[in-house]
Subunit: 481 residues, 2 copies
């Protein structure tokens, strides 16, 4: 049996037991798995287990795994650390293939007792032939098989896998990326990795036909040589994006406390990424940005961009951000300026590149006409529409209707462009604006237009895509099939 | 008469004429000055001028400046560029000291006609002895004299001046910084700077007793040698923060198109900042961050920080961000861990530094107790409370009440800390969370606690403060008097 075949059943359980779910408090954290599985519609048996027995939402709570009629494929455990080794023994009688131990309190505490309990888990599971995910993690989200650990996660499947040592970062990435249109094949939060670890999941995903992009959040690895091989192979089969946690002394110590990981040398990680062709990011937001870019931005031919928005000061700052990242903002030629001037005043507009179209942006049709001319200019490879509320003099652009007219103008740009186009409604840190900008951003996302929340984020992500394309164009081609 | 004395009257006009205000459409951009002056309560005469005459909100609209009874101190002009030189001639008859030309369409267009009109403005104003602010800018906000160009700007005065070539960036900074508690002495948007330029305002502000911090957004300077002297002097008298727009080829060209500026060499700007002790930032958000830091963060003795929040993955990422910026996240000693363990479980908490206090953060009193112990630890100089919604499994932490209980816990930290403390409720880019986080952030700001919207922003700004303090501790002392 191949590695893929041996791990695949974990993602498609025929029945699940939730061991340790609390009966008393519906808001208790142990309830999240029932809530998530119910919401996403897991269609096979879910058994609830708690020594106290009772009922939850009309469903019987078994006092022990042994009391469950029939077999149990997969156990999600929220029992206390002390009771965990005993749970492995119990599972043996029910034909359990894998247990996901959500609970913390093991080796990551740095205390002797936790390390001892984790060693007991490993010993018992090896003896019984049961695989373990965790402990100290959120487990698996696989929309195809209706397996989930987060309320509000998308119902639909996609082609992005995310392997995250941290449960919070796994959920955080799903939520950030999901509203931007990213959908997932498998998301795995694997915590202390006492049995199944990052290499197991990487090897599995390299062979997974449902996965085209693999995102990684890794604090440290269990077996360097094996991970090295797994990463090299995965990077050949899929587009791999890495967020490495614990790249400083403080971060490394935090990683040790979080998942008991040895974080390793930053220089080595950097070299690995260069050697294998792995896209490196430094925050969850950057991870969400690049996933969206890989999925939705048609690949520009080159690095030349036309930036179109409103506001002179914004124009200067966005041009700086793009050129700092190695993108090029070429000068608008006189011939193009003349054509634009035929239907646009010079005063209040700045007909250079960036194009500050303040005076005309809200006039119906004008922005579309501008974009159809500019996108035909042979010196540029892609276009950016930008919006920054700094340019508005009134305190709530939303109430005056100016904001929605501006958004309408930006929507005109999309069909008018003959080249790849993305939008940057820069997220304001002014409270009354943040919500309005998010609504506009969501409308762009719904039209499958790549949408970034900051000038710097857009420039960074598009640079990452183009840098990757310059060496690995072939790997990118497979993404949009 | 000193330079200060000659410019100060511009900030305290005894009467204002709004030349070119539209009578037809109350939402027209030329109305913003009337709206702003009305809102902030300018108490002296405001005369409205438009060749068509008529009335606005019951106030007479004069057909010409000459028709106004009595003298006019200060004119805010929104007349078209072509009519601007004529306006200077008219002003002469009314004793006008200065005209702020808001209108664009001058040298920044790069067209001959615009350059010619701007030269005419300069010639006429020199001949008549009238000073010009602009053209192509928003002019002056001076809450003390009830002068304003933005609806929603704070009524109260403060000690921060901001000199910005861009009107959008001036307004954007005021709005971003204002909600974080920053208040201003004078904000000046000066555009093309055909007469009064950045050096004039810098020289003025260096002597201004109401100003302690000077923020600058500069695209290019008119007279390098004079600016050099003005900057050196200002940096000795005040804390100066610079955002330079146009630091790349593209940004430089954008600056040329925006305010007709020659942006100059990045290397020179960097050297100037080092030489004179100027804090350099690269975005408006960073500018708002550092202004808030300078005003509200008690100056830490050194670079050692304790990071306290919830979420293991977050902890790793925030530790990385702080150490990348040269701050130090020292290891929590056993002695402190033992004291915390007396009232906190090990499972679900991570008692290292960062401290992930997930399991206990919502229990009343516990977070205060934790902070009083940690802030007494001699190896740290300041504390950060952090919050990132990635750690929540449910989709809307706000509805479950978890978010507000968490915020309550963070509020307990403030009085419990014996060392400087700041909060980082990291702004989520997930739509349903952004608004909630802003509400929490506002509550912290209302308590005058420095509040940052990202891990990276907090680390950057505190590093800037400490770097500045390492060379210019004396200049900082004057800030909090």
């Amino acid at each position: 049996m191949s590695h893929f075949e041996s791990l695949d059943p974990l993602f498609h359980p025929r029945s699940i037991a939730l061991a340790g779910i609390t009966t008393a408090n519906p808001e208790h954290w142990t309830r999240v798995f029932l809530d998530a599985l119910t919401e996403i519609g897991f269609e096979r048996p879910i058994y609830l287990v708690n020594p106290k027995g009772g009922k939850i939402q009309g469903h019987k709570v078994y006092r022990s795994l042994r009391d469950i009629p029939g077999t149990v494929d997969y156990v999600i455990s929220t029992v206390p650390a002390q009771a965990s080794p005993g749970l492995v023994e119990e599972c043996d009688t029910k034909g359990v293939r894998a247990i996901h131990f959500c609970t913390a309190g093991f080796s990551e505490t740095g205390e002797e007792e936790g390390a001892r309990l984790e060693a007991q888990l490993v010993e018992a599971s090896r003896r019984k032939g049961i695989r373990i995910i965790g402990p100290n993690c959120m487990g698996i989200y696989c929309p195809q098989s209706r397996l989930s650990f987060g309320v509000g996660f998308p119902q639909e499947s996609g082609h992005v896998a995310f392997v995250s040592q941290s449960g919070g970062n796994a959920g955080g990435l799903v939520r950030q990326a999901a509203w931007r249109g990213v959908r997932f094949s498998k998301v795995i939060s694997y915590g202390n990795a006492c049995d199944l670890n990052e290499s197991d999941f990487l090897e599995y995903l390299a062979d997974d036909p449902d996965t085209k992009i693999i995102g990684l959040y890794i604090e440290g690895v269990k077996d360097g040589a094996r991970f090295h091989r797994a990463l090299e192979r995965a990077a050949k089969e899929k587009v791999v994006v890495l967020l490495k946690g614990g790249i400083t002394h403080g971060g490394t110590r935090a990683a040790a406390g979080h998942t008991g990981s040895l974080a390793g040398d930053e220089v080595i990680w950097d070299a690995l990424c260069r050697q294998f062709g792995i896209i490196r990011v430094y925050s969850l937001e950057e991870m969400a940005d690049i996933l969206q870019t890989l999925l939705f931005l048609p690949i520009p031919e080159g690095r030349n961009v036309a930036l179109i928005g409103a506001g002179g000061g914004n124009s200067v700052l966005i041009a700086d951000e793009f050129e700092k990242k190695g993108l090029i903002v070429p000068q608008l030629p006189q011939e193009i300026i003349h054509r634009i001037r035929e239907f646009s005043p010079a005063a209040g507009n700045i007909l250079r590149n960036p194009i500050d179209y303040s005076q005309t942006i809200m006039e119906t049709g004008k922005l579309g006409e501008l974009v159809s001319i500019v996108s035909g200019w042979e010196s540029i490879d892609f276009l950016i529409g930008f919006l920054d509320l700094s340019g508005f003099a009134s305190p709530q652009p939303s109430t005056s209707g100016a904001l929605s007219r501006w958004a309408d103008g930006m929507f005109e740009m999309i069909p008018a462009s003959s080249k790849p186009i993305a939008m940057v409604p820069q997220l304001s840190v002014v409270p009354e604006d943040a919500n309005e900008l998010m609504i506009i951003a969501q409308a762009f996302v719904s039209s499958q237009v790549p949408t970034y929340m900051s000038f710097a984020g857009a420039a960074n992500s598009i640079n990452l895509l183009l840098t990757y394309k310059e060496s690995y164009a072939g790997r990118l081609k497979a993404l949009r099939v």
